[in-house]
Amino acid sequence: MSTPHANPRHPERSERSRPAQSPRIPRCFVALLLGTIATGALAEDLLIRNATVLTITNGTLPNASVLVRNGKIAAVGANVTAPASARVIDATGKFVSPGIIDTHSHTAVEGSVNEVSLPNTGMVRIADALTNEDISAYRQLAGGTTMALVLHGSANAIGGQSQIVKWKWGRPISEWLVTGAPRTIKFALGENPKSANFRPPEGQARQYPATRMGVEEVIRKSFVDARDYLARWDEYEAKRKRNEAAIPPRRDLLMETMADILRGNIDVHAHSYRADEIVMLLNLADELGFKIRELQHVLEGYKVAPEIAAHGAGAGTFIDWWGYKAEAYDAIPYNVALMVRNGVLTSVNSDSDELARHLNHDMAKAMKYGGLTEDEALRLGTINAAKQLRLDNRLGSIEVGKDADLVIWTAHPLSTYARVDTTMIEGEIYFDRAEDLARREDMRREKEERLKKESK
């Protein structure tokens, strides 16, 4: 969503304004913590014992164990044996789920998440601007979220390339990037790319496009240009093959991106609200020869769910968050259930540092609104999200061979009473509630001592 709005119920709202410089949870300490605990955890097997295991894909296993080896899930079930050297976490009375995957995040981006200047900014990459100093990443771990699609903003019809990351707090950004993950890009429809809610600075012309028609035209023109671009390169390569003199065309980062979408090398995640523009985009994609991997927000998806399913697009939406601008009015909490029932691969996601800390609640609400089963609700933030990111062979459920991105909860995660005890990524512990609490006094003392030095 990327542009601020007044409505108090919108992710862009100003609800509790937190001073960005006074995080409650000390991030430096976590770096230290990781240095001591996490690296040790890699070397040895880890057994989570006697938990209720929410496998997502194979039902719920009471009194079961999960064995973690080399960052992967090595065994799941009631009769798991581990070597004597294995580290054991007794999870009696607790619940284990896969880490929650958030398919709409803007966390950990340094500077603006929007390159505002052009209607198509496909040349820019979120990966270039990620920072490992955003405390929100750690807070999300504390809410069971281990992974996210960090998207470019929605200021342009075609925005920048997005990035799939795991919240490996304390590590350099290079380690946050999920290796082998698909490349992704943000498209946006409606009010934001047509600059309906903001104006350029004084003296500067309003930027094209200013209508939904214009947004469609920008997208179509970009792909037409990309075909021309590819044709120029084909012509050049053909001449070279014939040993004719030929001047190499310019390598254009924007056109390379568009070409990679056409080649199927970049997945499109499209910000959208209204049913008419959703259908427009699906038709346009069919016409131009690419797929929409996931519609984002998609608050009117329930009106065109069969069309979305037929295209094969997923839908990542909010359960009960709407009304923050004109195009977000015709929304209902049953959107998730209706899309699921009509065969749309659906997830709930955050678009918010705050919501990303308790996506389990939004998953639970889908049981209330529309009657999804417990398993269906759990899938919204796990395997469905993994499928939308095309990483379901590695993530999104507790299955042997998958990444050990696991969360230990004090209660069933669909309960509002559930709290996260431990969050691990690839078998390494990145959040541990007891450790966090234990270190706060040290943090407080260090801060006091350091401030004392400066008061002299």
């Binding site: 006074s22 300490f29 505002v116 200047s117 270039d128 350099p172 400066e454």
Partner: protein
Amino acid sequence: MRLRRLAAFLFFLSATTLHGDAPGVYAITGGTVHPVSGAPIPNGTVVIRDGLIESVGANVTVPRDATVIDATSAHVYPGLIDAQTFLGFAAAKKGDPEPAPDSLAIRNLRITDDDLDAGRSVGVTTVVTAPNTGIFSGQSVVLNLSAGPMESRVIKSPAAQHIAFRTRPTWTFPDSLMGVIAHIRQTLMDAQQYTAARTVYERNPAGLQRPAESAALEALQPALAREVPVVFVADSAEMIRRAQAIAREFNLRYVIAGARQGYQLADALQGVPVLVSVKWPAAPADKEDREDQPLRLIRDRQLAPTTPAVLAKANVEFALVSAPGKAGDFIPGIRKAMENGLSAEQALRATTLAPARMFGVDRQLGSLERGKIANVVIADRPLFAENAKVTRVFVDGREVRLPAPDKKATATAAAPIDGTWSVTVRAPQGSVSMQVTLKAEDGRLTGTFSGDRGSGEIRNGTITDSAFEFTISANTQNEAEASDWAFRGTLSGDTMNGTVATTIGNFEFSGSKSK
């Protein structure tokens, strides 16, 4: 005719000071000589002739024609090299053209006598300078702070290409960090293509479209060929890694400038020359502001001055530089690095031979050795010691006059805008409050902000009389995003007002000075 010329010449001589004379012959005797290239020499002698160093040592015979300078109980050094400055370039004002890769610093700089005095009076005789504007800031020059025509001061030009991760105003590409990186990569790719296209064309132009000329892309060729280094301005660990990723992608010879978080990167910086800025991050003046900050920030700013010592221990080649601070803060900044573990010897090397090597001028500069350029500094005690005073300075073998001490003092009077301001922005969604601490210096405005939309340092700050501008990176309301807010206002006593340009429109703001 000849007489007339002679008369003119004599007039010229009389009109110039002693500094304008032929370089002359000097013997500096009796002091502790710090050649840098070797161990200190107690009671050593340095002989200067015709702008060059003739001899250095303990048993040097003073030539008959030398003017003897008694440096007994004083210390003698090669002139310091400040290898990252904006000397001669004013802060950018709106509408100023941005520099480009083909901009040559030497063609555009304007150096005043005050600029020369500020450097020389702390022992700096040579600077590397380039504008502090633009993404491609152009090609720097290594310059002696000598008298005479600008061209005569040049040691090396171009010295390096300079690149900064600096956004343009919102709605002008690139207005985001990721856009800046795309712009840098595209420009370097264009420069590669430029040569590839011309090579094909020049081989046999018949039947081929003529590639367009581009001075900017032409100017990047020496950098792509690794003939000149590229200086990337990068302070945080992640920004340094971003610079390194670009340098690796295009196989550049590169230097990192700034390096505030260099203390975290001893491994990553192996083999990379680093220009460590000694403008260390400052704590907020207000006690409550300090207490509001997270430990991470407090720790980071306290560890920043350990960067030189950390790099020295890891055998990373580094120099100490003043930018983005000014010459007067150079020595205090170096001293702070010494309080944090850097030895005086390491500090001296980092301001002489090390920067000379990075810019390929170490055969001319950086040490007191026979045949090198006679930039020599005499101080009444070890140069970086508390209360040390530079007493005499020679540049290109000529003694330069140092400013009277009172002149320096007047330069630091507080500007009317200096201080902490309570600022309210009237956005349609309601007002947004923040505290902004500002400091004006030579037309530049620096400072910090904190409040409803996060906190951080202000950027692109300028001030002319009462008109000022600066930009902040403000969080949007959900705090997951940030975008630039460009303030433009006027100052009137203890109040200020003006407009803020944001991605969602222009809003009015007003501010009052906190007492």
